[in-house]
């Protein structure tokens, strides 16, 4: 058994997970499993058709009874597929008789109705044991998982039956309504061809379900063996060992290289040292890998890696949500019950009408409550859809900084122009013109509702202003005068020149800009 080639992930599984894995495995190899099951079964079916032609039910029972015979081939294929080996359909069919030799009589007689058939079959087929050895093995296996195996068999049996009914129902659904079939005589006289047809259908359903049943039982068995023999640990240990051996080999190879290199080096050094005056040769005290490994071990064994911490604190406990029926509801129900009892005693005639009335009232109350709740919940949307023409003013977030400049109104001094000229004269030209520029931006945002986003450049802002001046939209936004537009263009160019090209404008130009600014915004504050 080569566990490295295992096609499934080896890990501890609950019996149900093992069954699920079986479903997944059977799904992967369904076609060969289906055919390998169906072919022998249909041979038996054909024989029974000749022999028991007049009693289709007995024929079906015979086919059904021989199930353990057909189960072995799918099991064989699945057991090979588990280790990544593909067995062809013809290859499996050739082994039909050799696989069925062991214990066939037992499986067809007293073990036929065993509820753990697919779980036990691998012991016979794959471990090739019988008699007391088998009994002991089954005993070990059955200590766990036998419950799930029983349920698996029961589920499989019912699934077969219900799928058969579903198939019949499906075909019935496909019959057009116009076709009138007189079912009653057909069913009561039980026409022979009808019964045989349904037998064929049942055979197909059995063959479709069988791979899942057989492989699920097999995976249950494998799951138990993984648990018993710790396959997962073995696989991990093997890979660890291989890794270690590989690393060791690498290290040896490298060490060999290193020694030859070192001897060459030594030779050189010796030849040189004979020529040169002898010096202190043992100056280098480099760490060898062994020494550094020792150091690592020492560090790992030290205090730093063996600190234990105890953490305690308060955490929210999971709330108990079970008893959430409010007191008043219980009281109300009790009150209702008492009232009904009382009214029963008084008038036994029309209590039914009372209950009916009560139910009606309750339903109406629930309905009204629901409508009210929905109205309340969606009032915003409803109101909006009623007054759809009136748009809500969109509140946009105003930017606080543009190009790294603070453009909030509040950050500006009271008299902007005076401050600009003061800064300019004191030599801080950048600060002065910058203040003028950002004051302009701030006013454009505040009073003219320009939406300058972070993605715009200075010239794009200026362009926006020019656009509004050229195409004013009377109802929407405040129009821009030609003078203001001109100011913005000039100021932008001046600021760009100063900021990026370090070319300051003349004082006269700044003063003109200030005057224009005063005209444009001065009387707004």
């Amino acid at each position: 058994m080569e566990l490295e080639r295992l096609a499934i992930r080896a890990r501890l599984r609950s019996p149900w997970e093992s069954i699920d894995l079986g479903i997944a495995l059977a799904r992967q190899h369904w076609w060969p499993l289906f055919i390998v099951w169906l072919l022998p079964a249909s041979v038996v079916f054909a024989c029974s058709f000749w022999l028991l032609h007049d009693s289709p039910s007995w024929a079906l029972l015979l086919v059904w009874w021989l199930k353990p015979v057909y189960d072995r081939l799918p099991l064989f294929i699945a057991s090979r597929a588990l280790f990544g080996e593909q067995v062809s359909v013809s290859g499996a069919l050739k082994q039909f008789f050799s696989l069925n030799r062991r214990d066939w009589f037992a499986w067809l007689t007293w073990r036929r109705l065993s509820a753990t058939r697919s779980y036990d079959m691998p012991v016979t087929l794959l471990e090739q044991t019988s008699g007391s050895a088998r009994a002991a093995r089954i005993g070990v296996l059955h200590r766990k998982h036998s419950n799930a195996a029983t349920w698996l068999t029961l589920t499989g049996f019912h699934l077969e039956f219900f799928l058969f009914l579903a198939l019949l129902a499906f075909m019935y659904l496909l019959i057009p309504e116009q076709v009138q079939i007189d079912w009653l005589p057909m069913l009561t006289n039980s026409a022979l061809w009808l019964e045989w047809a349904s037998n064929v259908l049942y055979l197909l359903v059995m063959a479709a379900v069988a791979p899942f049943y057989v492989v699920s039982g097999f995976c249950l068995y494998i799951g138990r063996r993984i648990e018993l023999e710790a396959w997962d640990i073995e696989i991990q240990f093997r890979s660890l060992r291989d890794r270690h051996l590989r690393a060791q080999k690498d290290r040896q190879k490298r060490a060999a290289h290193a020694t030859t290199a070192a001897s060459l080096l030594l030779l050189c050094v010796l030849s040189i040292s004979t020529l040169l005056p002898a010096e202190d040769a043992s100056a280098e005290a480099a760490l060898t890998p062994e020494q550094s490994r020792e150091t690592i071990d020492q560090v790992l064994a030290g205090e730093d890696f063996h600190q234990q911490e105890e953490v305690s604190g308060w955490r929210l406990k999971e709330l108990d949500m079970d008893s959430e029926i409010p007191e008043w509801l219980i009281d109300f129900v009790q009150w209702l019950e008492n009232r009904q009892l009382a009214s029963d005693k008084e008038r036994e005639v029309d209590w039914a009408a009372h209950i009916g009335l009560l139910a009606e009232l309750l339903l109406w109350a629930a309905f009204i409550g629901l409508v009210a709740y929905l109205l309340l919940r969606h009032r915003e949307q409803i109101l909006q859809s009623l007054r759809w023409q009136r748009k809500k003013p969109e509140t946009r977030l105003r930017p606080e900084t543009l190009f790294g400049l603070d453009v909030r109104q509040s950050s500006l001094p009271d008299d902007v122009c005076a401050e600009v000229l003061r800064l300019w004269r004191s030599g801080d030209k950048r600060g002065g013109l910058g203040l003028l520029y950002r004051a302009t931006l701030a006013h454009l945002i505040e009073s003219y509702q320009f939406e300058f986003g972070d993605h715009l450049t200075e010239s794009e802002c200026a362009q926006l202003v020019r656009q509004r001046q050229a195409h004013p939209q009377p109802e929407a936004q405040r129009p821009v005068s030609a003078a203001l537009c001109e100011l913005v263009q000039q100021l932008t160019v001046a600021w760009q020149q100063l900021a990026y090209a370090h070319r300051a404008p003349q004082l006269a130009q700044v003063e003109t800009l200030c005057n224009q600014w005063q005209e444009a915004f001065g009387n707004e504050d």
């Binding site: 479903i23 799904r27 699934l159 023999e229 640990i233 240990f237």
Partner: protein, 230 residues
């Protein structure tokens, strides 16, 4: 490697894993739910027998509610578990492994209608069997799946050995295997454990009993046992 694991990666790069539950346990869980529901309906029928036609009406109403909202109630209010699912350790979750929401639960349960077709949940069973994550049609539509709830392991009694630090270069899986070996020391036969321990002889340089004892000591160390000895 074939497995039934369902995994989701969160935006933070954390892998969440769960084991998707297949048709067999789900059918059985459904059987348990059917059993409980019929018990309730029978009890109701007996209780309402005195009310004749009105009783029949109420009973029909109740059966309607039970049919459609019994699973929804339990799935949303009781952590994704109907009583049947609880019996088999199953949970319904959204397919990003978060707890199931109202709308998803309603959708997946209303679509039982589609899964039931043409008879006895045939479409649902076929879809569950063929789907990669064992989802029935309702699950596919609602974006949910049924997974196993992870049982919390009972604390293990560790063998009484002095912990020793592990050799260098152990990966996470190696450490987990070592821990698993020590945790299952009660279930695995002694001979098998020695056999497993000897696999690591090139690493440990020990044989038979000594190898196993050493691995046990390392396992205890990995589980946070107090270092002594060395």
């Amino acid at each position: 490697m074939l497995d039934t694991t369902y995994s989701v990666e969160t935006p933070e790069g954390v892998d969440l894993r769960a084991q998707a539950a297949g048709p067999v346990p789900r059918i059985l869980a459904y059987g348990v739910d059917i059993f409980y529901r019929s018990l309730i309906l029978i009890a109701l029928a007996i209780a309402l027998a005195f009310a004749e036609n009105a009783g029949l009406g109420i009973w029909l109403l109740c059966s309607f509610l039970l049919e459609w909202f019994y699973p929804v109630y339990f799935e949303v209010m009781h952590g994704g578990q109907t009583p049947g699912k609880k019996a088999f350790g199953l949970v319904v979750v959204n397919d990003n492994l978060t707890p199931i929401s109202w709308s998803a639960s309603l959708l997946r349960n209303l679509l039982r209608f589609a899964d039931f077709l043409p008879f006895a949940y045939a479409a649902g069973v076929v879809s569950m069997t063929l789907g990669r994550h064992f989802q029935r049609l309702g699950d596919l539509a609602a974006g949910t799946l049924v997974v196993y709830r992870r049982e919390s392991k009972a604390p293990q009694t560790l063998p009484d050995v002095t912990p020793l630090p592990p050799p260098r270069g152990l990966q996470l899986q190696d450490q987990q295997a070592l821990i698993s070996l020590i945790e299952r020391s009660g279930e695995l036969s002694e001979a098998r454990q020695r056999e497993l321990a000897e696999l690591l002889e090139p690493l440990t340089g020990k044989k038979e009993r000594a190898a196993l004892d050493y691995l046990r000591a390392v396992g205890t160390w990995l589980l946070g046992g107090q270092t002594g000895g060395k």
